[in-house]
Amino acid sequence: MRKYLFIFLLLNFFLTGCVEQKIIDDINIISAVGYDAKEEGKVKGTVVIPVYKADQSISSETFIAEAKVSKEINRQIQMKSADPLENGAIEVVLFGQDLAEKGVYEITDTFERDARIGARLFLAVVDGTADEILKKNIGNLGTGTHLNTLIEHNMRHRELPRSNLHLFMYSYYSRVRDPFLPYLKLEGNKVKVEGVALFDKDKAIDYLNDKDMFFFKALMENFRNGAYTYNVGDHLVTTYNITMKRQFDVNKAMTQPKVNVLIQLEAHIREYTGKKLDPKIIDKARVAFEQDINKKTKELLERFRDQHIDPVGVGMHARTQTRNFDEEKWNEVYQNATFHVSSKVLITETGVIE
C-alpha cells in the first residue's frame, strides 16, 4: 500500500508540467476593462494594467482593440502585450453608455463563465465612453484600483446602492427584479459617481441622479452617513442618517397591487444655515424631511412602474407576502400598482453645540 502511495506521488511529479505557471512578475494583471459600442455591431475593448515602477509608484498602461465578440478582443490585445495578460484580478468593468443601452449580457456572461474572475467585481456604466476614463491615468494606485476603491467606498459608506457582477446577474435572471449599476462620469481628471443606471433586462434605459440615489438606496438597504440637504423655511438643513428600516406591504398582489411602504430612519443634523437650532426648528426639520421622503420615494416608485422596471424589487416583497404568487401575472398587473409611502424620522442629535 505504502509503495503504491509512493509511486503515485512520484508519478504525479511528471504531471507538474501540465499546470500552467503564472508567476506574478511575468504576467500582466488586468485591473480594469472597458467596452464601448462601435459601428457595425463591433465592440471596442479597453484593457488597463497597472505598471509597477521601481520607485514603488504605480502607473497604468492601456491596450485597445476592436472586434465583434469580447473574447476576440482579448486575443487581439494579447498580441500587443509583452507578457501574458491575465484576467483573474479584474476589479472593475466599465460599459460605455451606447453599449449599455444596446445590451451588456453578452459581455457579463463571459465574465460569469470564467472561473478565475470573482463574482464580486464591480460593473459600472459611463456617461460617455469607457475608453476615455481608462486611457487616463487616474489615482496613484493605478486606474483599476482607483475606480474599485471609488465605487467601493461609495457603496459601503455613501448613497450608492450595492451592486456587483453577482448581484447584477442575480437581478438579471430574476423575474421579479431588474438590475442597476453605478453611473460614472469623467470630470476633468477625476471620475465622479453620477448616479445609478437602471436596466431593463440587460439594457440601460434610465439614469437616476445623485439626489434620487439617497431615496433609491433607502428603499433597499440600511446605510449610514447618507447625506441629504433640504429646505426648512428659508434655511437649509443637512442630515446624516444613522439607521434605516423599511417595510413593504403588498396587498392584492395578483389583481390590483397596493404597495404600502414605511420608512423609518434615525438621523442627526450636521448643518443648518440658520442661526439657532431650537427644538421647534428640529421638529420642523423632521416634518419637512418626512414629507420629502414620502414625496420623492413615491415619485421614484411610480417612475420605475411607468418604465416597466423594478430595480427596488417590489416584486420580491410581493412574492414573500403572497400565497400562490404567479410571476407572469405579477408582471402584468405591476403597471397598475399604486404606491403609498409613509415615513418616520427621528432626529437624535444636533451636534455638540446647543
Binding site: 508567476i23 506574478i24 512578475d25 509597477y52 514603488q56 483573474g88 494606485l141
Partner: protein, 495 residues
C-alpha cells in the same frame, strides 16, 4: 555451585581458563596484575586501572585483606556488600571492564572474588539548558544513572515508584532503568515497553536518543514518538500522570512515553505559569509551528499560480520587490531556506563564541546583500526569517528538527501544484500522523480519536482544579488524581 565437585590437588580446568582470560586482559596496558607474596595471606590483585577507584582499593579493600588470617574471613572483613565468587572465566571478562577488582589467593582452592571498586566520575547537577525555564527547579539530569534515579525518586518518595533495571548492548553494556508508578501506570503500557526494550538488539547504545529511535512505533516517521526531556521535574509529573520513563546510564535525557503531538509542543513551564498566560503562549507556539511550515510554501504557491489571491494592496509590494529578481519563486525560496539552514548548522557546529558571530554575519550581511544583489525579494527574506524564528519556539529539540525538515516537501508540492499541492502535502502528513502511535497509543489523541476529557490540556491548559483526572491517553489504572470539590454541597463558614 559448579565449583562443588572441584578437586584441591589437581588444578581444575576452570582455573586454567581463568589464567587464559587474565592473559587476554593483560593485553591492555591499563590492566594491572599485582602479586603480593608475603603477609598472612598471599594474594594476587588485578583490575583496569582506568576504571577503578584507587581510593576504594587502598582504603576499603587492601587493608582488610592484609589483616585477614584466613581466606574465608574475606566476606566478613571487607566492608563491601557485593562480593562475587568467581565461578567461570566469563565472570572475569564481564565484570573487570565494569570496574570490579579481581582478587585471587594462590594458596587457597578458591578461584577468587570480584569486588566492585568502580570509579564514578560525573559532573555535578546543572541547570537545564535545552528546556530552560525562568521559573521552576533548576536541576537537570546528568550522565549518571544513579543520580538520575535519585533526582526522580526524591520527587516521588513513594513505595510504589518502581525502578527496573535492564542492561542492553553487547559492546556498551548500557544499563537503563524503567520507571513507573505501580497502580497508576497501565500494565499493558509497561509490558509493551519492557518487550520493546528486551527486543533491542544493538551493540553500542550511545545515548538515550538511540533507545528512543529504536523502540519507536514507526521508525520511518519524522516525528519523535517518545518524548525526551532533561528535566527531572517533568519526568516526575509525567510518571504521576501514568506515563513511563526510561533513564539510560551515561545519558542526560529521560525518555517519556506514551506521548502525544500536543506534549511535544508543550513545555514544563506551561504548568508553572498562570493558566491564562500558559494557554496563550501555547497557542502562540502552535500558530508559529503552522506558520513556520506553511508560510514559504504559501508564498511560492501564490506567486507562482494564484496571483488572484493576493490582495490588491499587497500586489504592488510583492511585484516591486520581485521586479529585478531573475529566479522563479521556488528557487528564490529554496535559496533563502537553505541559507537559513546553513546558518543554523554552522552555528550549531561551531564553538559558541564563533557561532554567535556567524549568526550576525549570516543574518545581517548575507540577508541584506542577497536582497541588494537582486537574488531574493525582501518580502520573502522577512517571511523566511520569521519562519525560522517561529520554528525555534518548538520546545523539544527533536520535534523542532522535524518541523525544520517538513517545510521542504511542502515547498516542492507548492511549486508543483500550488495550493492544491499544499493541500495534498497536508493530506499526506495528516494521514501519516493519524496512524502514528506512541507505545501503541494514538499520537494525535485527544483530537483523533477524540477524547473530550483530555482536551483540557491541549490548546488551553486548564487550571489545576479542572485537571482532576489523569489523561485517558495513558490508560492509567488509577484514573482520578483527586476528587473535585462538589460545589453543590458547599457551605458557608457560619453554618
Amino acid at each position: 555451585m559448579i565449583r562443588r565437585g572441584s578437586n584441591k590437588s589437581k588444578e581444575n580446568p576452570q582455573a586454567s581458563s581463568i589464567r587464559e582470560a587474565l592473559e587476554t586482559l593483560k593485553k591492555s596496558t591499563d590492566f594491572v596484575f599485582y602479586k603480593k607474596e608475603r603477609g598472612n595471606v598471599p594474594y594476587v590483585i588485578s583490575y583496569f586501572s582506568s576504571i577503578v577507584n584507587a581510593e576504594i582499593i587502598h582504603k576499603d579493600i587492601l587493608p582488610y585483606i592484609q589483616e585477614m588470617q584466613q581466606v574465608k574471613d574475606l566476606k566478613e572483613k571487607v566492608p563491601i556488600e557485593e562480593i562475587i565468587d568467581v565461578t567461570q572465566p566469563k565472570d572475569l571478562l564481564e565484570k573487570l571492564p565494569l570496574g570490579y577488582v579481581y582478587i585471587y589467593f594462590p594458596e587457597s582452592a578458591h578461584l577468587g572474588v570480584l569486588i566492585p571498586a568502580k570509579k564514578d566520575e560525573k559532573r555535578s547537577i546543572a541547570p537545564p539548558e535545552v528546556e530552560f525555564s525562568v521559573v521552576g527547579p533548576k536541576e537537570s539530569f546528568i550522565e549518571s544513572l544513579d543520580t538520575n534515579i535519585y533526582l526522580v525518586r526524591k520527587r516521588l518518595p513513594i513505595e510504589n515508584l518502581r525502578v527496573e533495571k535492564i542492561t542492553i548492548g553487547d559492546l556498551s553494556n548500557t544499563e537503563m532503568a524503567l520507571l513507573y508508578i505501580e497502580d497508576i501506570a497501565d500494565k499493558e503500557n509497561v509490558n509493551t515497553l519492557k518487550q520493546r526494550l528486551d527486543d533491542i538488539d544493538f551493540d553500542a547504545i550511545g545515548d538515550s536518543a538511540y533507545i528512543s529511535q529504536i523502540i519507536a512505533d514507526n521508525q520511518r516517521s519524522p516525528f519523535p514518538q517518545i518524548l525526551d526531556t532533561e528535566r527531572p521535574d517533568r519526568t516526575a509529573t509525567a510518571l504521576a500522570e501514568g506515563k513511563l520513563a526510561i533513564l539510560v546510564d551515561r545519558s542526560p535525557h529521560a525518555l517519556i512515553g506514551p506521548t502525544t503531538f500536543i506534549e511535544s509542543i508543550s513545555t514544563f513551564e506551561d504548568y508553572l505559569l498562570n493558566w491564562y498566560a500558559a494557554s496563550f503562549i501555547r497557542i502562540v507556539r502552535m500558530a508559529s509551528i503552522a506558520f513556520s511550515i506553511l508560510i514559504t510554501p504559501i508564498y511560492v504557491a501564490t506567486l507562482t499560480y494564484h496571483y488572484e489571491l493576493i490582495p490588491k494592496d499587497l500586489l504592488a509590494t510583492l511585484i516591486t520587490s520581485r521586479r529585478v529578481i531573475p529566479l522563479p519563486p521556488i528557487l528564490e525560496a529554496l535559496f533563502l531556506e537553505l541559507t537559513i539552514e546553513l546558518l543554523r548548522e554552522a552555528g550549531a557546529r561551531l564553538p559558541t563564541k564563533v557561532g554567535q558571530t556567524i549568526g550576525i554575519v549570516g543574518g545581517i550581511v548575507i540577508g541584506t546583500a542577497s536582497v541588494e544583489a537582486g537574488l531574493t525579494s525582501n518580502v520573502l527574506l522577512i517571511m523566511v526569517a520569521l519562519a525560522a524564528l517561529a520554528s525555534f519556539t518548538t520546545p523539544t529539540y527533536q520535534f523542532g528538527n522535524t518541523i525544520r525538515i517538513l517545510r521542504f516537501p511542502f515547498l516542492l508540492f507548492a511549486h508543483a501544484w500550488g495550493m492544491v499541492g499544499i493541500v495534498l502535502a497536508f493530506s499526506v502528513l495528516a494521514a501519516h500522523m493519524l496512524q502514528l502511535t506512541s507505545l501503541g497509543r494514538p499520537y494525535l489523541e485527544p483530537f483523533y480519536p477524540t477524547r473530550v476529557r483530555d482536551l483540557k490540556d491541549t490548546f488551553i491548559r486548564m487550571p489545576f482544579s479542572k485537571l482532576s483526572r489523569r489523561p485517558v491517553h495513558n490508560q492509567p489504572d488509577d484514573k482520578v488524581r483527586f476528587k473535585p470539590k462538589d460545589k453543590r454541597i458547599h457551605r458557608d463558614i457560619d453554618e
